[in-house]
């Protein structure tokens, strides 16, 4: 489980960084989305891999319950990154209109 999670986080990060380094706004935004998925997974795993552990709300013996705090943190982070993705998409669309280009530096080149 640990290895699988590590591979998923690594792969998401690699794809995210690759897209983030593109010169067009939409790939950059997709890169940010992938990176935020990877980061949310890291944050979630901050409480340990919850394999087999009960959800924190279910009554049970203390030992095998998942840590609830990282889940709360992840929820906050997900909401924030969702809102930011929406904002940056609108910003990119407005840039496309006002600069007549979707280059991150606003340059007009052949698309």
């Amino acid at each position: 489980m640990n290895l699988a999670m590590a591979v998923v986080v690594g792969w998401l990060t690699a794809c995210g960084v690759y897209l983030l380094l593109r010169a067009r706004t939409m790939p950059v935004i997709l890169g940010l989305v992938l990176l935020s998925h990877a980061v949310n997974l890291v944050l979630f795993l901050g409480g340990g891999v919850p394999a087999g552990a009960a959800p924190p709300l279910v009554d049970g013996s203390g030992a095998d319950r998942a840590d609830p705090l990282p889940q709360a943190l992840v929820l906050t982070a997900v909401v924030i990154s969702f809102a930011m993705t929406a904002f940056v998409l609108i910003l990119a669309l407005r840039n496309r209109r006002s600069l007549k280009s979707d280059h991150v530096d606003g340059e007009r080149r052949d698309l």
Binding site: L20, T25, V28, L32, L35, S36, V39, N40, V42, L43, F44, L45, G46, G47, G48, L69, P70, L73, T76, A77, I80, S81, A83, M84, F87, V88, L91, A92, R94, N95, S98, L99, V104, D105, G106
Partner: protein, 495 residues
Amino acid sequence: MSHALILPVILPLVAGVALVPWRDIRPQRVIALVATLAQAGLAAGLLASAGAAPEVYRLGGWAPPHGIVLVGDRLALLMLGLTLAVALGSLVYAVAGDDNRGRAFHPLFQFQLMGLAMAFLTGDLFNLFVAFEVLLIASYGLLLHGGGGRRHRAGFQYVVLNLVGSLLFLVALGLLYRVAGTLNMADLGPALAGLSGSGRAVAEAAVLLLAAVFGLKAAAFPLSVWLAATYGAALVPVAALFAIMTKVGIYALLRLDATLLAGLDFGLAPVLHVAGLATVAAGVVGVLAAGRLADLVSYLLLISVGTLLLGLAVPGEAAIGGVLFYLVHTTLITAGLYLLVGVVARQRVPLDDSLRAGAPLAQPRLLGGLFLVAAMAVIGLPPLSGFLGKLLVLRAPLTVEAPFAGLWLALLVAGLAALVALSRAGSTLFWKQGMPAGPQRGAALATLAPAAALVLASAALALAAGPLNAWLAEAAAGLADAGGYRAAVLGGGAS
């Protein structure tokens, strides 16, 4: 338990929400001014009553380390007061007309104040992340205020950079929670101190990630490339308010050093020293190359960030006291300079703040005089506060016998570069005439007064330097007293 400590966060939130439904700008201005004045009064009251022991407020009565706490020690309250001083100046300037150049200026301004207050007061690392997001989201909106291609382009780059910074912050939080099991700043110190082996390596990596994130906020080289483009593109009152934003990064670095690193026995000093030297160097090049006055001020801001980083790299409390004095000085004077740039630019209509000879200004003596005072304060000429601030930073390494060559060279070269650049800019703006006099009108009092007040605050700082410096030394001692901070946050405390 007194609820005063949460009010600097609640008041702007309530004001911001109350501002949203208004379409007409006049009631918005009244509400915004009243709300900001109330916050300034509140901050002044909190500052006046700040004692040696930090004031702690538990949100919802939940006990730390899992409950979120607000901690009002002297340093946090000082930053809060500084924020509101800059915010008042910026708001009065904006009310003269700039707030009407787009929608929702006033609500965003209040949300920005809320984020700043929360960032300074919080005692929880995850809450600090949330505060950063609140202030960043508001700053994205404020930066775009007024519209135009230049702002949109700068805005997109600023947003993407800060989003990446936020992601790194989250990674660091995940790693820290994994190894320490807490995110309360006071609790993290001892938790990290007990680590060994791989846990310790993970914690060190997380702390370095945090330092990188705070370095991005503070605009430490090489994470500083966004600064000039962003601040130069923003409207004048927005740029003036943003003068406090880089200080959020500096403040977070100070707090990181005092709480987390105290436990790790692992100093950031070498990194900060190199970053500070590089930041000053980048600022010097920018100052000499700037073609617009707003860009010139942005690079002066970069030099001041480098100076602060160099001061932070010097070990010991004495250095921190000097750094705090310089921080107060540079925040106020930078905000004043941005506002002054706006006043000058309005009297040079076709050229604005571009550094070329234009028509004579409508008020050359008044604005020229203010520019001279501001320039002297920034360069660090006596008798103004810039001289004292630089002197304190320059003296700091001598008191603890730390290496001082790099710091001295950087500060003295930066002073010379600022002197050259500001003399050139001043003579171009106020003496050279490349155009016939146009129908320029004098500046409105609402724009001139905040600019003058912030610039002349430098003289007031110099006059009050003795008591202020003593107070800042106590604030630095309070910051360095990790045990007292921990006891106040975690131990007992009426709830």
